[in-house]
Structures are given as C-alpha cells and as structure tokens.
C-alpha cells in the first residue's frame, strides 16, 4: 500500500519530468500521450489502492503511510512527510485522476492546432504538474502538505490561465487569480500557524483527536481563517472575482482546474477538517450562508451572460456555493457527492463548450468570417451540425439543472435536503430558488447554442470536432448521467454514503437533529424535481417557443438587467477600493519616500544615457542627503521612543 500511494503521487510528476527532459526529442503527439498515460497510470493505481481499502472493515479504511522522513523544525514542531489514504482521499484521487485523464486525452486533440511544439509540450508539463500538486493536496497527512499542494496548484493554475500570454488580458487574468488567491492563502497560512499553536501539531489525526480540549473561540478563529482560504481557492464571496476571468486559459484547463478539481479544494479542506468545523458551529453557519448566497449571487449573474464559458464559470461558482452549503449544514457526504457529480457534468460542459468553440472556429474559418467563438449570440442551430457535442452537452445541462435522475439531481437534492432536515429552512429556500435559476440558465445556454437557426455564417458552417475530443465527452456524459443513480440511490444509503459516512463519523456525532417541517426526503426529492423542470421549462418557453421575450424583459427591468450584465460592478468596486489605493501606496513608498524625486532613468541602471551631467548632480551627494535625512528621522523616532515615551 505504501509503495502504491507514493507511486500514485509521483507518476504524474515523473510524466512532467520526462517531458521536460526528453520533450525536445519526442514528436508532439507522443508528448501528449505520454502525459495522458501518466495520469491514466495514476488512475489505475488509485483504483488498486481503493480496492485494497475496500478489503478492510469500514472503520479501518484510513491508511497512513509510514513517515518517509520528518520535516522537523527546531523544538516541538514536526511535520511528518507521509500520505493519508482514506475514503475521502480515495474519492478525490479517483475524481482527480479519472477526470484528469479524460481531459488530458481531450487536450491532445484540442491543442493539436497549437503552432509551436514548445507550447504544446509546455502545456502538458503544466497539466501533469497540476495533477501531481492536486494529489499532494489530497493525499497529504497533515495541513502543511495540504498547504504545499494548495500553493502548487495555485501556481499551475496561474501558469495555465496565462498560457496564451500574448493576449494581454490573459496575463491580466492570471495576475488577478494570483493576487486574489494571495488573500485566501494568507488566511490559510495563518490558520495553520494557529492550529499549530493551539494543538501543538499539524497532523490531521492529532488535531482532530484534540478538538475537545481547545477553547471554542480558538476553534472559531482557526476555522474562519481556513474558510477564508477556501473562499479564495474555491471562488466564494467575496473572493470569487478571479474565476470568471480565469476562463482566459485553454478550455480543457477550465474544465480540469477551474471546474472539476482545484476549485473544489476548499470543499475538500472543510470536509477533511470536518471535525474542526463541526465543533465550531458559528463558523459552520457562516460557511453555509456564504455558500448559499454565493450560489444565488452567481446564478443571477449567469442568467444574463452571453459568453459560453462565462456562463459556465458563474455556474461553477454557484455550484461550489452549494457544496459549501452542504458542508456548512453538516451534510458532508452530500457535499462530496455533489463535488463528484459536479466534476463529471461541469467537466463535460466545459469540454462541450470547447468542442462548440472548436466547431464555430472551424465554421468561421470556412466562412471567412470573424466572430468571437465564445459569443452565444452568434451561435444557434448547432444541433444539426455537431450532433455528438449537442447530445453530450444536453446531458451536461440536464445534470447541472438537476433534472430528475441525472447525477446533479441526486447530489444537489441531498444538500438541500440536508439543509432542510437540519432545520435550516431559510437556507433551503434560497437554495431552492437558486436551483430554479440554475435550471433556467443552463437550458438557456443549451437552447441558445444548439436550438433554432444559426445566427451567423460561422455557426452555419460549423463542423463536428475530432474523435479524440468526442470520446472523453461521451465517457463524461455517461458518468454525468448515471453516476447519481449508481452512487446515490437510494438517498442517504447509496454506495457513496456507505463509503464516506465513516470518514465523517466524528463530525456527525451529536448533530443529526431530525425534523424540519416534517417533510420526508422523498417529498423533498419531488419538490426538487418540480423546481428543476419548471426552470428548464421557462428556458424552453423563452428561447425555443418564444412565449416570453427575454429582450422585452431586459428592457422592462433595465436597471436590474444592467446590474446583472455588469456583474454587480464588483470588479469595479474592488479596483476602486483596493487596487488603486494599493498601487498608489506602493508608488508613493518606492518613488516619493525612497527617492523623493524620481526620474525614470534612476530605475534603469545608471547607464549614463543621460550623460554624465545628470549623474554628476546625483553624485554631489544629493540623494545621500535625502537618505541621511530619513536615517536621522528614524534615529529621532527611536531615540524619542526609548528616551521619552518608552519610559
């Protein structure tokens, strides 16, 4: 088992290393397949490890590898480098490597048009590195390893968002993701330090065992800090702003990192630390509310967007909100269940979107017309032209909308039921409203793209994507359709439940208040079905039957429409509140305080282009005096503090 787990972790890394070392000598296709093969191998190893776990009794299904070595610090602080493989880790590993593999395969087709061999290889190196980092995040046996993985996935995401760096806005998007995530990572790092000072250890087992002995206020502080970290990585209010822009990266990357895996790391973290969060009830309430409000907020934005990837981005934020609602109300299993199904259907939708864009680009090329391949207003009628893409996309949309019997239906309903049965009726209500909106926007998207007549020459000449892209779509479609039924039926007692429940046993102790308003799970299931169908029906009415005219609505509710269209002006608000003042301060400190009077030449080397004259002035000790002035000011302050105020 030990070898297996280390192999699981290191195989994708080896893939990246081999591609770096040998890449130049390999044909590009080989490089792509090599990377895919590494992930496939990791997936197989993951399956084997899971089977071994399955052979054990349910309570003993948590394997910690012997410590490879201790990453020790002076004094009491120790970080054992070891891996933990339990039910939760197994689920995450299978999702990461499974979906990861499909997306690798898809990428071989998708990136085939990349002109430079170099870029093609670079892409797969990053992708393999990402899988490695994500596995490290999931498999680490303590918070520090998780943090290491957390930072590395962030780096990979940053590199991949700005992959096509020649477009300036892509680089900007990468930077934005980076900066916003800094905020979250800052809180996360502090949380770890606090855990260490409160528990004297960062190893999961030690920490969770000692929860009872720690003051509730400390627990609240720790969990809040961890949660702020989650809002960054998992794009929740108020730190979600980077995710929509992150769609600038290649579409398979959006599918893998910004939908299926990395962004769910926050959910994983809370599920992993469920013992802490369950004990910190006020934090859990905050988590639930932030989650459900994010879900609603993002869904309202998604409903008016016209960029095919942007809709999906906001829907990802919204669905992540659901997952946080789940962990917030203590429905950990449901949240992870939704994480899994969401990985399937959202990866499917993103890859489908990529296929659509591929098709439209082909058409645009054919028609000699220049259109934005992501603008849904230019599409329509693709059902006939890209049938397989259409079918799979329909499956994805249905699962996202939560149409009965699709995978999203079971998992989402379970979260809502969890909220309801724990007595959070208000949360349930908001969640249900969001479910309605979700169904509406997901079918709006489907109909805008596939139904009706083509609205541009490019759409008219669109052509189906190559098979290497369609096969992953088909596999994901099957999963998105069937996973719910296979894993989650009957509700609360499906495969996934029996598998995961023991992992959350500690956290579930003492909760489980029966009740709500006396509605049975089956009734709730029914309500969810109706809501989903209603939402889908509304979209059908508006975009296919034209019973309702969306354009007229948008005119009628113009202020609301403008507000949504501009995404509540949050980006602008942040720019005003944080970005500008910050750069103002930086410039002030660097230019005014450190230089007093700066001319551009100073920043370059003093390469004397301005001639000796300008230099001569500076050499006359001009700046020396300014520096000396600041030193004396400092000396006065230090002296004043020690001699007068300090006494």
């Amino acid at each position: 088992m030990e070898t297996l787990l280390w192999a699981l972790l290191l195989v994708p890394l080896a893939g990246a290393v081999v591609n770096v070392l040998l890449g130049r000598r390999l044909p590009r296709q080989v490089a792509g397949w090599l990377a895919s093969g590494a992930v496939a191998l990791a997936f197989l190893i993951g399956v084997m490890a899971t089977l071994r776990l399955l052979a054990l009794p349910a309570e003993e299904r948590a394997y910690v590898t012997p410590t490879l070595y201790t990453w020790a610090l002076a004094g009491r602080f120790e970080v054992p480098v070891s891996l933990l493989f339990d039910q939760l880790a197994a689920v995450m590993v299978l999702v990461v490597t499974g979906v990861g593999f499909l997306i690798h395969v898809y990428s071989v087709g998708y990136m085939a048009h990349e002109p430079a061999d170099y870029d093609f290889r670079r892409y797969f190196v990053y992708l393999n590195l990402f899988v490695f980092s994500m596995l490290l995040l999931v498999l680490g046996s303590n918070f520090v390893l998780l943090y290491a993985g957390w930072e590395l996935v962030g780096l990979c995401s940053y590199l991949l968002i700005s992959f096509w760096y020649t477009e300036p806005q892509n680089a900007a998007a990468g930077r934005k993701a980076f900066v916003v995530n800094r905020v979250g990572d800052f809180a996360f790092a502090l949380g770890i330090f606090l855990i260490w000072s409160a528990f004297g250890s960062v190893v999961y087992a030690d920490v969770f065992e000692a929860v009872g002995g720690v003051a509730p206020a400390t627990l609240t502080a720790i969990t809040l800090l961890l949660f702020v970290g989650c809002t960054g990585k998992s794009a929740q209010l108020p730190l979600y702003v980077w995710l929509p822009d992150a769609m600038a990266g290649p579409t398979p990357v959006s599918a893998l990192i910004h939908a299926a895996t990395m962004v769910t790391a926050g959910v994983y973290l809370i599920a992993r630390a469920s013992a802490l969060f369950a004990a910190a009830t006020s934090t859990s309430a905050i988590v639930a509310w932030v989650g459900v409000l994010t879900a609603l907020f993002a869904a309202t934005i998604a409903i008016v967007q016209v960029d095919i990837k942007r809709v999906l981005a906001y829907s990802t934020i919204s669905q992540l909100g659901y997952m946080f609602l789940g962990v917030g109300v203590g429905a950990y299993t449901a949240a992870i269940f939704h994480l899994v199904t969401h990985a399937f259907f959202k990866a499917l939708l993103f890859l489908g979107a990529g296929s659509v864009m591929h098709a439209v680009e082909h058409g645009a090329h054919h028609a000699g017309e220049h259109v934005d391949p992501q603008d849904m207003r230019q599409m329509g009628g693709l059902w006939e032209r890209a049938r397989w893409t259409g079918i799979t996309f329909l499956v994805g949309a249905a699962a996202l909308a939560g149409l009965p019997l699709t995978s999203g239906f079971f998992s989402k309903d379970e979260i809502l039921a969890g909220a309801f049965l724990e007595g959070h009726v208000l949360l349930y209500g908001v969640g249900l409203l969001t479910a309605f909106l979700t169904a509406t926007y997901s079918f709006r998207q489907f109909f805008l793209v596939f139904a009706g007549e083509p609205r541009s020459e490019a759409a008219r000449h669109a052509a189906e994507s190559p098979r290497v892209m369609l096969v992953p779509l088909a596999v994901l479609a099957v999963l998105a359709l069937g996973a719910g039924l296979v894993l989650g039926w009957p509700p609360e007692h499906g495969i996934i439940h029996t598998w995961l429940e023991p992992a959350f046993a500690v956290a579930r102790e003492g909760t489980k208040a029966e009740g709500g308003a006396g509605l049975s799970p089956m009734t709730l299931l029914l309500i969810s079905s109706v809501v989903a169908l209603a939402g889908a029906g509304l979209a059908y009415g508006a975009y296919v039957r034209k019973a309702v005219d969306p354009a007229a609505l948008s005119v009628r509710f113009r202020p609301l429409y403008v507000l949504l269209w501009n995404r509540y002006y949050v980006d602008e608000l942040y720019a005003l509140l944080f970005v500008r003042p910050f750069f103002g301060l930086a410039r002030f400190l660097a230019d005014v305080v450190d230089k007093l009077v700066i001319d551009g030449a100073v920043n370059g080397v003093a390469t004397v282009t301005a001639g000796a004259h300008a230099l001569a002035r500076r050499l006359q000790a001009g700046y020396v005096r300014v520096y000396a002035l600041s030193m004396v000011l400092g000396a006065l302050l230090v002296l004043g503090y020690l001699v007068y105020w300090g006494r």
Partner: protein, 101 residues
Amino acid sequence: MIVPVSYYLVLGAILFSIGVTGVLLRRNAIMVFMSIELMLNAVNLSFVAMSRALDSLDGQVFVFFVMTVAAAEVAVGLALIVAIFRSLGSADVDDAHVLKG
C-alpha cells in the same frame, strides 16, 4: 575635575548634532565627509570626558581606535572622491553650470 562632566558631554552632543546637520545640509561629498569627521570628533570628546569622570582608561583607548578607523576611512573616502572626480572629468566639475543642473 572642576568643570562638571556634563558640560563636556553637552558640548559633545552639540558638536555631534552640528555634524549631523552638516551631513544633511551639504551637497559636496567632501563637506559631507568632513561633517562625519566632526561627528566622530564629538564622540571622542565625550569618550575622553567620561573616561576622566569614571577614572578608567577604556574611553581614552576607544578614542585611539576611533582615530585609527577614521584614518582608514579617510584614505578610502578621499581616494573614492578623487576617482569619481576623475571619471566625471575635470572640465565638468569646473563648469558650475553643469553642476547646477
């Protein structure tokens, strides 16, 4: 010791502050350098006065070392100033217009 030690120390403090002011005020590297020498001189005066008041020679020995270090610094500093002067070229320094910039 008839004049109280504090007189000497206050004088030292004043001289030190004048030296600091000189560093802040002067543009010419040589004058800045001289002001620094003035600061060291003030430190030396304080050392000697304290040494006398405390009946110990440590302060006076310190003055020796300060002087030696100052000598070493002067050698380096003046060579540096000469080197810069040479790099800029004599014509430039003579030309007041250039230096006014």
